[in-house]
């Protein structure tokens, strides 16, 4: 299964519920298109819920980084929610754990946006 992305609004923050695999090809394209679409609509507070993402490869990691830099460069914020152990381990070994704001609880994550 590749990735599915559903968006919802919570107190001015766009929560993107992702599920499946973020890998080279359709998975990373859907993530990229989703972030671009949100920015195009002026939604710059983005919380990616990765709770149901069971697999990310280096292309998927790259797409997360690209999303982060694109949103940040446009004055927005992109944060991560509910990392699985596999995804957290990947961000740990690539040192990206130091780059992203990461949360385990949605309410706290939403509240953290400024």
């Amino acid at each position: 299964m590749t990735i599915k992305a559903n968006t919802r609004q919570v107190d001015g923050v766009t929560v993107v519920d992702l599920s499946g695999r973020i890998t080279l090809g359709e998975g990373s394209t859907i993530l990229r298109d989703t972030v671009r679409e949100l920015l195009g609509r002026g939604q710059k507070k983005i919380l990616l819920n990765l709770g149901d993402v069971n697999y990310i490869d280096s292309s998927g990691i790259g797409e997360l980084v690209s999303g982060y830099t694109t949103v940040t460069n446009q004055g927005g914020q992109l944060k991560l929610l509910n990392l699985t152990k596999k995804v957290r381990d990947l961000l740990q070994i690539t040192k990206l754990i130091t780059v992203f704001d990461i949360f385990d609880e949605e309410t706290a994550a939403v509240r953290s946006f400024t």
Binding site: T23, L24, G25, D57, S58, S59, I61, G62, E63, V65, S66, Y68, T69, K86, L90, I93, T94, K95, L96, V99
Partner: protein, 150 residues
């Protein structure tokens, strides 16, 4: 944890330069390693490494050229799994791959594939093929055979 058991099996395929081949290769490697007795955690590492190797082969190496093939060989050398991935691209040198952990590279979108292979496998060697192409040889050691694992 199960010990990796020696196997005499060997699988060798030539794959089309497509993303479908990447998925196919990952699945083949996982099944091969599972049959050899590697742990679930190792299967994830092996699968990811093979995936990254094949992505490099079909995407960066062969550039999805339908006339070029990506090779995958899976074999046991004693208790160790050896994965060899080849492409027919213009070749690359490991020394030329930037360190993705360096602060100036941390926010780059690409450049983590080889790093992940090296993080997840015990040995990774890259060599240019003649007249063209690259071979990536990755080895995963079996779980320690000292009887200390669960």
């Amino acid at each position: 944890m199960k010990k990796a058991m020696p196997s005499t099996g060997r699988v060798e395929v030539q794959l089309e330069s497509s993303l479908e081949s990447v998925d196919q290769a990952e699945e083949m490697a996982r099944r091969f390693a599972q049959a050899a007795g590697f742990s679930e955690e190792d299967l994830d590492k092996i699968g990811m490494s093979v995936r990254e190797g094949l992505v490099n082969a079909v995407h960066h190496g062969n550039k999805y050229d339908t006339h070029k093939r990506a090779g995958l060989r899976l074999e046991m050398e004693g208790p160790n799994l050896v994965v060899t991935v080849t492409d027919q691209g213009s070749g690359f040198e490991l020394a030329g791959v930037p360190n993705p952990l360096a602060s100036e590279n941390l926010l780059k979108q690409t450049g983590r594939g080889v790093f992940l292979m090296r993080a997840f496998m015990d040995e990774v060697e890259v060599r240019r093929l003649s007249p063209t192409g690259t071979e990536v040889r990755m080895t995963k050691h079996a779980a320690p055979a000292n009887g200390k694992e669960e």
